[in-house]
Symmetry: C2
């Protein structure tokens, strides 16, 4: 049976073999939710950048530049990190260069994996189907918050484990931790996350609408995959 | 209100301020459970070593040397990592030099904290009382398994959070993850841990008795504390 493991923070990535695995990068609030939303609304590609200044330079090459640090849009960037910014006709057929506090850093660290896809609750079933029918063992990489473990990404990992539990075997204890968390929180994820540090941080920024949207499963049947450093649809 | 945080792996220690904190080091299976048992049976001191060879050299200085790697007693050492080895009259009044796969490594990384104590289910209430009446913010450091997060240490962190929840505030999301896990598992911890990777590993070594003993709360009212690199009773 294939195995699945969960890396609860990008700071633990060095402990995992990546070469033969399919990696799912997840940053529920809000980088990977934005990316999935953008692809569902017709964006051509998204190039993730760990470094903000390299991202900014892509403006000259005709990219839409999206930048967020500490939950806020960066000065001089076209867009920030709310999924509602990625639903308009202005992004259709366009290329986006994207940098965020945690999510794009996690993608950077995942390079070296056999396959890298982007997951969120919004495309949960598309992710599950891909992992189920793929040949590789799986590693879910939670973006966390500046290296620390967070509730929402761990919860998403637990949702994947729940859906694959009869088909893919947990490799270590982190999948069990994530699965138990999901069992506790799945009935009302918005309420469950009400105490999380990141939700408190985002609530201060007045984006309740973003949070409940990002926790809605299966809004979009799209699956972004990284190839040569660029995300496109499979 | 004081705060409490949980470092789910020693590999994440660099993310936490230690200077002003009381750190509780925990390695339920089995280093800190052994240490607590040894103190309850009259050992004078325990000197933890991250490095096995430095530990071995303490034999010449009259120490009992205890060494475990990958769950097994190391060749040439007096004792291994089962709490039942630390209940006899042979350790009364003696000094032990101790090295283990995960626990003593975690103690090494915690150096620099304001106070360092050793926790296990066996001395749960003694730990809780100390944290409650102390002035410092708290960090629970889970020893994990070779850097990876494990179920039993996270569960213990959750037990501490549960007992202190009306008095000390969670600092970030890791305490919430640990607390939810404890709520799921507290009714029958032995059964709950039956799936964990480390318990499976230890079951192969035939030490079921160790596991259920290490999960028994409040066997001993002792609290080992690190001072100048040596653990003694408070």
């Amino acid at each position: 049976m294939k195995t699945i493991d969960v890396c609860l923070s990008p700071e633990l990535m060095h402990l995992y073999q990546l070469r033969d695995r399919t990696v799912v990068v997840v940053d529920i609030l809000r980088a990977t939710s934005c990316m999935v939303t953008a692809f569902a609304h017709g964006v051509e590609s998204i190039t993730p950048f760990a470094d903000a200044e390299s991202c900014r330079l892509m403006k000259r090459k005709g990219f839409i530049i999206s930048g967020e640090r500490d939950g806020k849009k960066m000065d001089g960037f076209d867009k920030g990190n709310s999924p509602f910014e990625y639903m308009g006709a202005d992004i259709r057929g366009k290329r986006i260069a994207f940098t965020t506090t945690n999510g794009t850093q996690a993608i950077e660290k995942a390079k070296g994996a056999n396959k890298i896809i982007v997951g969120s609750f919004l495309n949960l079933s598309a992710v599950v189907k891909y992992l189920l029918f793929g040949e590789n063992n799986v590693l879910i990489v939670c973006a966390g918050w500046k290296g620390k473990v967070n509730l929402e990404d761990t919860l998403f990992a637990g949702a994947i484990i729940e859906k694959l539990r009869n088909h893919i075997e947990p490799d270590c204890d982190a999948p069990l931790v994530a699965h138990e968390l999901y069992k506790q929180g799945c009935k009302d994820m918005v309420a469950f996350l009400g105490n999380s540090s990141h939700v408190k941080r985002l609530n201060r920024l007045n984006i309740h609408k973003d949070i409940s949207f990002c926790l809605t499963p299966d809004q979009y049947d799209v699956l972004p995959k990284l190839k040569n450093g660029v995300l496109t649809l499979i």
